[in-house]
């Protein structure tokens, strides 16, 4: 990568031959990608996530059997060629429901990550950038919110909205999940706003919106992405937990949590009804966390070599 041959020539000034000049190569993102792809655990996570995504998409158009249809075969039927993961307590095909559950899990995970990131980023940016009373109010809100149990918030929300539609579940989880993101972004913003390039941007007449969107946010993106990838498994787990308690997506939605809850009563009789969705949940969480860890290491400048 040759750097600029200076075509700024002073009167009778000699200009250097620039053939051998080089700048630093690889950019941060390229470098991060290289480190991510040399981390096998993270790659495994990525592979599982891609698989999950494919399954979720396919399930919207095709599943071996309808996810809600009961009495397809014998209740508590064990795995067979026709039903590789067996049948549940009302004779639904577990594989089909597992596929449908993948879509729900991803919708909840991604939806919550997106929504709570937006809330957290917006509040964090405002608090860190304007400081003063804006920061005082937002920080107070965050601290008070921390003190209130998430479950209570969600239960109240579900009761008030009086709906258990998936989109409301996502909203409910999001309003409990933005706190860490807001804290992270606030801290990043506080540090970045003192950086010289932000000061330089101010000196060339950049408005606050520009400072936030062009200078501060892009430079905080690394940690934000990492934090967001951790939000996904947390939300999936929380939704499963809610469904397990009967507060999640309403039946017959094939939520993995609900599937576990339904099979739980007959664990002795037919363990596969519980174990299959539990296993899917576990693998998904491990994969997402592995990917998040890999991403964190890859984006950490201290890990640069």
């Amino acid at each position: 990568m040759a750097t600029a041959p200076s075509d700024y020539v002073f009167q009778d000034e000699f200009t250097a031959d620039s053939t051998y000049e080089t700048g630093e190569a690889v950019s941060l993102w390229k470098d991060a990608w290289r480190r991510l792809t040399s981390n096998y655990f993270a790659l495994f996570g990525l592979a599982v996530i891609v698989l999950l995504l494919l399954v979720a998409i396919v399930s919207q158009f095709w599943t071996p059997y309808p996810t809600w249809k009961q009495g397809i075969g014998p209740t508590y039927g064990g795995p067979s060629a026709a039903h590789p993961f067996g049948l549940d307590q009302v004779g639904r095909d577990i594989l089909s429901r597992l596929m449908g559950g993948a879509a729900i899990a991803l919708a909840v995970g991604l939806g919550t990550a997106l929504l709570s990131s937006i809330i957290g980023i917006a509040l964090g940016l405002l608090a860190g950038f304007y400081r003063g009373w804006v920061d005082t109010v937002i920080s107070l809100l965050i601290n008070v919110w921390y003190g209130i149990p998430d479950l209570l918030v969600v239960m109240l929300f579900v009761v008030i909205i009086n709906s258990r539609e998936l989109k409301w579940i996502i909203v409910a989880i999001s309003i409990t999940a933005w706190l860490n993101m807001a804290r992270l972004v606030r801290g990043q913003t506080l540090a970045l706003r003192e950086r010289e390039f932000v000061e330089a941007a101010r000196s060339i007449g950049t408005r606050d919106v520009g400072l936030l969107t062009r200078h501060i946010l892009p430079n905080a993106l690394g940690p934000i992405i990492v934090q967001a990838t951790y939000l996904i498994p947390a939300a999936i787990l929380f939704e499963a937990f809610l469904s397990f308690l009967g507060l999640g997506a309403p039946p017959p939605e094939p939520s993995w949590g609900a599937m576990c809850a339904e099979g739980y009563k007959s664990l002795q009789l037919a363990a596969h009804v519980t174990l299959v969705p539990a296993f899917a949940l576990a693998i998904t969480l491990i994969a997402l966390n592995a990917f998040g860890d890999g991403l964190r290491d890859a984006l950490d400048p201290r890990m640069r070599r």
Binding site: S6, F14, T15, A16, D17, S18, Y20, T22
Partner: protein, 367 residues
């Protein structure tokens, strides 16, 4: 008399994933007993790696791959490269000690200053514990810490930058080494403090006879302290000689240009500084031939292919160049003249030197 330190064809390389960085690539120089030698060069030229090699403190993944570092003027010099771990521990700090650019990172922030100076001695067995203890205050006095006796109980953060650097020097001198390596000891300090530290080093050299290797990118600092200079460029020595000869009669185009590219305090405002075009070389992909050729205004065809040897160009002066300034001034006078910046004499005719506003400036209001 054998020199105190003789570095012979030293090569220190860094083996990285995408290639080898030849940070120090075959350098040879010596330091006599009680001498002050300056090593100058710009950032990345290998000055610090040279000194770290002498201390056998080269950071990973760097390695001394070739050469000898002979130390000892008593007829039986030892090769530092071959020393055992035991020997090297003894060598560091007692025969040779080193002070660094940033005195804060080299001092332990949670230990008292006096204790740290004593530690530096008790790590070696030149002085007994009693003696070590007794030496602390005199040492701090010697480096001119005001109120030395009371300040032994202070912590490093209670000292200013200049005082911390003095403490480092006190620790460096505590075992009466015969060689002190100072790597940019004043770069982080202010000019008035720099002047104090340079004065201190000069006095210590005079009083205690400690030889000093001063590493810096500031030629003026070298002029002020050193009797001999080694100029490094891209891991090589490009010129070496007595300070006076190098400054008055530089033979390598790099040295020559560098001396003309610096604004000088003793020259009033003049038209233009000489610029050295281009950039310092990328050490993982250095140019073939003479390493300076992409930036050299006097280069000839040969420079592009063949690297010149470090040849004797005068009594005790060596330069690595096919052309040499003494020839360039004759054969390429127009280039030399174009680069030559007149230094108006100081205080000659004040009114003439400072005739501002410059009437030739575009847009200048004519008086």
């Amino acid at each position: 008399m054998a020199p105190l330190l003789q570095v012979e064809d030293l090569k220190t390389y860094f083996h990285l994933r995408d290639g080898v960085v030849k940070a120090v690539d075959g350098i040879t120089f010596h330091v006599d007993k009680g001498e002050t030698v300056g090593i100058v060069g710009e950032s990345g030229s290998g000055k610090s790696i040279t000194s770290l090699s002498i201390m056998r403190l080269v950071p990973e993944p760097g390695r001394i791959v070739h050469g000898r570092i002979l130390f000892g003027a008593d007829g039986q010099p030892k090769d530092v490269v071959k020393m055992t771990d035991e020997e090297i521990r003894d060598f560091r700090g007692s025969d040779v000690s080193m002070i660094f650019q940033d005195p804060m990172t080299s001092l332990n922030p949670v230990l008292k200053v006096g204790f740290q100076v004593r530690e530096a001695m008790s790590a070696h067995d030149r002085f007994s514990d009693e003696q070590s203890k007794a030496r602390v205050v005199p040492l701090l006095k010697k480096v001119r810490i005001p109120g030395a006796a009371d300040r032994t109980k202070a912590y490093p953060h209670q000292f200013s930058g200049g005082m911390r650097q003095r403490v480092m020097i006190a620790m460096g001198l505590s075992n009466e080494p015969s060689l002190l390596i100072a790597d940019e000891p004043t770069t982080a300090l202010d000019v008035t403090v720099q002047a104090q530290i340079l004065e201190l080093l000069r006095d210590l050299n005079r009083e205690m006879g400690t030889a000093i290797i001063l590493i810096t990118h500031n030629l003026a600092v070298v002029a002020s302290l050193c009797t001999r200079v080694v100029v490094m460029y891209a891991g090589r020595i490009v010129e070496e000689g007595y300070t006076r000869d190098i400054f008055k009669n530089p033979q390598h185009p790099y040295t020559w240009s560098l001396l003309r590219s610096m604004p000088r305090l003793d020259a009033a405002r003049h038209s233009k500084l000489l610029t050295i075009s281009g950039l310092p070389p990328d050490m993982s992909n250095p140019p073939p031939g003479c390493k300076f050729h992409p930036r050299c205004r006097f280069r000839v065809d040969r420079c592009l292919e063949e690297e010149p040897p470090l040849g004797e160009v005068g009594p005790n002066q060596y330069a690595r160049c096919w052309v040499l300034m003494q020839n360039a001034l004759v054969t390429q006078p127009e280039k030399a003249a174009a680069a030559e910046v007149p230094i108006p004499p100081l205080s000659a005719e004040p009114a003439q030197i400072d005739q501002r506003p410059d009437p030739d400036r575009p847009g200048a209001v004519k008086a």
